[in-house]
Symmetry: C3
Subunit: 239 residues, 3 copies
């Protein structure tokens, strides 16, 4: 299975072009759009989503991961093998938290792209590499130290909003397993208690809970947390 984890958008041409390329190079391999609306340029936010949302995919899954503020720049592409899955994309920090949490990690640097568009490496560089890996083939690449993936200044739990979903729920970069359920969470002057799930609080009430992928998420029962709390991707919180 190949999984797309990008900020490409799903309606415009980019996701479709990547899918078409994968279809040609790895026919018959299913392609899943996991995220196509990650916050543009916000590599840090995506880095905390990746290990949470990659969990549960079977070994051998290949993730194409692109959030790329330095479009066309010279940052190298990498293929990361972490606990049996492959992750391919530009190395600007997107794999930092994933690599920190994985038990077994290997990192390979892809050769500089030649003769392809300078602005769409997702289609022209990373999709072909993903297709090869999905087919069990090796890719031309050089082993590099895993440390090159890390961003040492990034914390283990990121106290800010990293994604807002269609319902207005706000995912954070904090693992719920690292927070006691009795803790209050502060955001924009609001103090939120935790709850097990939506139906455990009153209509219109804001709360935090462990979402279905283990992240602390801010929500409002039958309401939009983003509107009620005045938050967006990047809003800071404290515990």
């Amino acid at each position: 299975m190949i999984v797309l984890f990008t900020d490409f958008g799903i309606e415009g041409p980019y996701t479709g072009q990547v899918q078409a390329r994968l279809q040609q190079l790895a026919p018959g391999v299913p392609v899943i759009n996991l995220f196509s609306d990650l916050e543009p340029y916000d590599v840090e936010a995506a880095a905390y989503l990746l290990p949470a949302y990659a969990a549960g995919f079977p070994p051998g899954t290949v993730f194409v991961c692109v959030v790329d503020p330095g479009v066309g720049g010279s940052r190298p592409g990498v293929a990361v093998c972490a606990d049996g899955c492959w992750y391919v994309g530009p190395n600007e920090g997107l794999f930092a938290i994933l690599a920190r949490r994985a038990r077994h990690v290997q990192c390979r640097e892809l050769p500089a792209a030649m003769g392809v568009s300078s602005s769409f490496h997702g289609r022209d560089v990373f999709a072909p590499v993903a297709a090869q890996l999905a087919g069990g083939l090796s890719v031309e690449a050089v082993d590099v130290p895993v440390a090159c993936l890390d961003k040492p200044e990034w914390p283990d739990e990121l106290l800010r909003v990293v994604y807002i979903d269609r319902y207005g729920n706000a995912m954070t970069g904090v693992r719920a397993s690292e927070v006691d359920a009795s803790q209050l969470l502060s955001v924009n002057g609001h103090q939120l208690k935790s709850a097990q799930t939506f139906s455990d609080v009153g209509m219109g009430e804001a709360f935090w809970y462990a979402n279905s992928n283990g992240l602390v998420e801010l929500a409002v029962n039958r309401g939009r947390a983003d509107k009620v709390l005045g938050i967006s991707v990047g809003t800071l919180l404290s515990l």
Copy 2:
């Protein structure tokens, strides 16, 4: 074929996670996103869309249907067999109109979900059941009376807007077959005549017509009916 009929959104992770689960449990079965942007929490609106948009799918199709205001609550999940197709989801009224209009209906109640996320039953409960049904397997479930699906207070034709499409056209919960083409339709102080199709009225003119799935739909030739008429999902109409 497995068909998704949800309010999950298509860009964020939820639809992709359901697709990935289906891919693992029912490899090779095609998955179609029919609706992924149903109005959140508005089970009633979705209930009138379902029979209109499920029509025409071949026998054996399995629909995963989730619009779920009571996320994590204790409402039971059901698997409904109606005229040869299966429909799986939480029983909060979403299958009421479908069951009322079908010739042959059976309803089975799914056992309470154990050991899964309390907030994403679409992925953790309903997708696995759908995968089993798509593979021709039976599911552990108890036959229950079909009457448990109905919402007796809901009318046969719902005189309100149930969905607004990308063009600004407004679908209603009324079957066009139940309305005479000579009838005027009133909405927000506007009186609309019927027309066969867009090109039959003047540019910018509002009208109603029988849409391609048999529902009364409000539209404007080369314009947005939602803007021109000031309507949104929930706006009432009268005949």
Copy 3:
């Protein structure tokens, strides 16, 4: 491979209904959504995107192309064979630029649709034709002169914005190969220089460049060109 190039939107029912129809009539043929958010009614804009974004697909690809201001009107549907690929849709100019640039073009007019919805020919007429062509079958159609596809009043390079992507970048109807890199481009009182790619200009700076499909595109490094330049689909430019 069947490729969808439409203004249907991807979340609502239309793209899913077309996919379901294709799945039934051409099981196993992969379907790619290339564009599902073309500007409604703007056939001209789409006509300049089509040859740019159809390039690179393998021979035998079948494109379903629908941007249809005259929904339900009597304009004929066509199946166009251009340089080894098929293009199916209503003939309102969408194939004009494609046909002008192709080396080998044939055009066949589809018979008037009978007994189908008058508003959803994408699902009821063009998808079935595409499925037949993808299966290597011929379709009932009459050869007509290729000239019927053209819009002689349309220029070879269209000096306006034809699409704005998720990042706010603005594609134009101008091929970058027809413009010297030293040329300034004027839009809304701004004078833009060209650059190779995003990382070649300062943060927040606007520029134009040859995008990954060869069109002149207006962009801002780590910003939204649509907001910075105050532009939208239809905005005119000059060279």
